[in-house]
């Protein structure tokens, strides 16, 4: 009796199974990187990089090893947002976007504004939030179809490159962070700048955006290190500077933990006072030997504090002149000011009096003294 009762529901369950398209992993191609190049009025050259996994011989004795080469397709179309239909005509199997991990824009396109693309990326549920956006100095098509010394697929190479740099040198920037600043008030988005040089790809700086338009850059490495110090707490990253007189030498230190706090006064006035306070612990990795290490270390840290303060303030001044706010000074001011007005802040920002104070505590000098 019980079995009879169960039969009907179970049979009924089979009816809807025919309703869906299934996507079997072997029958689709997963796009991992997309590049957009500016061609002309409303025309965009889109390139996708699709890793092509082939089974290796398993020579290491374990399981079969796999290596990947990259296939890339490019088409010119009016909207490059999703994969244009034209591109599907070039692919052997349907292209799917679920695993995209890097999206590139060339400098021209970035200068013209990437708002449409941002809207698309925010809207499509298929797009993740941990993927990286980047600006490319040069053509993204060339970068994605290039051959590199690394044996991996270019998309994985790109993703790893950005990921490890974000850990040590660059501030955190993935799609979520971009959307956060793009839609939020009082902070402007930033992206890394990539460049193809020979059979390598390198990061050459940080691109500054204002309302989805690329307006300027911070060059690597010292400036980006200072920028990262000011924007978030982190560990790692080396700073190199030139110590003048007695004796003149290049000193390099490793950051083993930094903290940053902001304090804002008169947030609503025409020239708000903002104090950025950075506390950094450091290890000296490269310095000439001295007979009196304690005094010498003191001297180094004092000189370095001065140096970072000066350069950091110059950096902020540059931002103010361009009226971009990649540090999020507006958002910081909002959180410390009652009745903050975004429209007024836009006028006040270039006149804000921003001071940077750095405290460096040298922890070690390595295994020598």
């Amino acid at each position: 009796m019980k079995i009879k009762k169960l039969c009907l529901p179970i049979l009924l369950l089979f009816i809807p199974t025919g309703c869906l398209h299934s996507t079997v992993i072997d029958d689709i191609r997963l796009v991992q990187a997309i590049g957009y190049d500016y061609v002309g009025d409303d025309l965009v050259l889109s390139t996708v990089a699709v890793p092509n996994y082939t089974m290796g011989g398993g020579e290491s004795g374990g399981g079969p090893s796999s290596s990947a080469t990259t296939d890339s397709f490019s088409v010119i179309s009016h909207t490059g947002k999703a994969i244009p239909t034209k591109m599907q005509t070039k692919a052997q199997q349907p292209l799917k976007l679920g695993k995209v991990n890097t999206i590139l824009f060339d400098e021209d396109l970035a200068k013209h504004g990437i708002d449409d693309f941002v809207d698309y990326l925010n809207r499509d549920p298929v797009i993740g939030r941990k993927l990286y956006l980047a600006v490319v100095d040069g053509s993204t098509q060339e970068l994605l179809s290039g051959q590199y010394e690394e044996s991996q697929a270019v998309s994985i190479y790109l993703n790893d490159l950005i990921k490890q740099n974000i850990k040590y040198n660059l501030p955190r920037m993935n799609l979520h962070e971009f959307l956060y600043s793009y839609f939020g008030q009082g902070k402007d988005p930033i992206l890394p700048i990539l460049k193809k040089s020979g059979d390598h790809i390198e990061i050459t700086g940080i691109a500054l955006f204002r309302n989805g338009k690329y307006v300027g850059k911070i060059p690597i490495p010292n400036k980006t290190f200072i920028f990262k110090l000011m924007s978030q707490p982190f560990e790692g990253g080396a700073y190199e500077f030139y110590l003048k007189n007695n004796p003149s030498a290049y000193i390099s230190v490793l950051n083993t933990g930094s903290k940053v706090t902001y304090s804002v006064k008169n947030g609503n006035s025409a020239s708000p006072d903002i104090l950025i306070h950075v506390k950094m612990k450091a290890i000296i990795t490269e310095a000439p030997l001295r007979s009196n290490p304690k005094e010498y270390i003191n001297k180094i840290s004092k000189a370095m504090e001065k140096d970072i303060e000066k350069q950091g303030e110059q950096l902020v001044e540059k931002f103010q002149k361009m009226s971009v706010d990649p540090l999020g000074l507006g958002a910081k001011t909002r959180s410390q000011t009652r009745g903050w007005d975004f429209e007024k802040w836009k006028d006040h920002y270039p006149n804000a009096d921003v001071k940077l104070k750095v405290d460096i505590q040298v922890k070690q000098t390595g295994i020598t003294e």
Binding site: R129, K130, E177, Q185, K187, Q336
Partner: protein, 364 residues
């Protein structure tokens, strides 16, 4: 009209916690943040607390109402207070409301599946599968439905831990300065927020199924507290993770939040999350259907065996009729408005009415 429920089909007082909590956490929690922050900005999380407090008051009223009535549930109570005919009409309206409430949950969850996972899946097919599943629980009776409420609590709990991932991107300064908004704005946000807490209205129908109702009080309030806590953490995490402008563009903030979660085994957590979410939504649907059939049984004096298929077919057809997002949104806001007046205006009203009535009748 005394309803005597045999002890065999009653549940222990502890289960009240899960019954109340499971019914309150449904589809609303996936995206309530932007509605309250549209009114009260970054202070909107305070509205969650004030709403939580208000639910405790309503629950207290419900207990008072039910303890003083001889029948033990809302159906009997309304007939007792308003006479046979008006009472019958009001009961019928209440059942229609609960039915639409179930429909809203079902249809909204189907919309989530359509937008996030299977855009080509038809509403009819999905509705069919979910209702078939719900049917298998509802025919088991109240104890089975309580079981699924309890399980939903267990299944849903791991989703809470996942909030750890977005916290790595937290900007705690988003919450500052505290109390920048006027208390009025927070009160307005409270009204909007109550919509996510509505589910516990069903409590008035399954009250007679709880053993030792006096002891259940404590657990019922714990249930509400758990819900408030859940919503509060959800809201706070969303406010530190998203910027206010970004939140404005996000329909389902909890689901968008899952996009940042990553495990080595699966890259995109939202697909796993939405699937697990079925077990969070299922008790809403089951308990709702059960309550409607229970009410209808008392109202029409028909056996539940006949009513369950009828209710399911009504749900199945009306579910299929909603075809796009705008209709679903309209349904949502309509049901929430009705629900708000039911819990916060009608329930206090009959409470006062009952007090007066009892006072008048006493001397005679």
């Amino acid at each position: 009209m005394k309803t005597n429920i045999s002890e065999k089909s009653q549940v222990s007082p502890v289960m009240t916690l899960f019954l109340i909590h499971a019914m309150q956490v449904g589809v609303g929690i996936l995206g309530f943040e932007r509605y309250i922050s549209a009114i009260a900005g970054h202070d909107a999380w305070m509205a969650v607390i004030t709403t939580g407090i208000s639910t405790h008051i309503v629950l207290w009223i419900m207990y008072r109402l039910l303890e003083k009535s001889s029948g033990g549930d809302l159906i009997a109570l309304q007939q007792e207070l308003f006479g046979k005919y008006i009472g019958w009409g009001l009961n019928f309206l209440v059942l229609i409301y609960f039915l639409s409430f179930v429909l809203t949950i079902l249809r909204t969850y189907i919309e989530v599946i359509q937008v996030w996972i299977f855009p080509e899946f038809s509403v009819w097919a999905l509705g069919f599968i979910i209702l078939l599943l719900a049917h298998s629980f509802v025919i088991g009776g109240f104890r089975t439905v309580t079981g699924i409420c309890f399980l939903s609590f267990i299944y849903g709990a791991p989703l809470f831990i996942v909030k750890y991932f977005p916290l790595q991107y937290a900007n705690f300064s988003n919450l500052m300065p505290i109390m920048e908004q006027s208390p009025l704005a927070i009160l307005k946000a409270t009204k909007v927020m109550t919509l996510s807490f509505l589910g516990f209205g069903l409590f008035m129908l399954y009250y007679p199924f709880i053993k030792r109702p006096k002891q259940s009080k404590k657990w019922a309030h714990f249930g509400l507290l758990t819900t408030t806590y859940t919503y509060l953490v959800t809201a706070l995490v969303s406010y530190v993770y998203f910027s206010q402008g970004q939140l404005k563009h996000t329909i389902w903030s909890t689901l968008s939040l899952w996009k940042i979660v990553s495990f080595p085994v699966f890259e995109r957590f939202e697909y796993v999350g939405i699937t697990i979410w079925l077990f969070v939504v299922l008790p809403n649907i089951c308990l709702g259907i059960w309550a409607v059939t229970r009410g209808a049984k008392l109202l029409f004096s028909v056996r539940q065996k006949i009513i369950i298929p009828t209710v399911l077919i009504i749900l199945f057809i009306s579910n299929g009729l909603f075809q796009n997002r705008i209709q679903v949104d309209t349904l949502n806001s309509l049901i929430s408005t009705v629900g708000f007046y039911f819990l916060y205006v009608y329930i206090p009203f009959i409470f006062i009415y009952q007090c007066v009535l009892l006072k008048v009748r006493k001397p005679s």
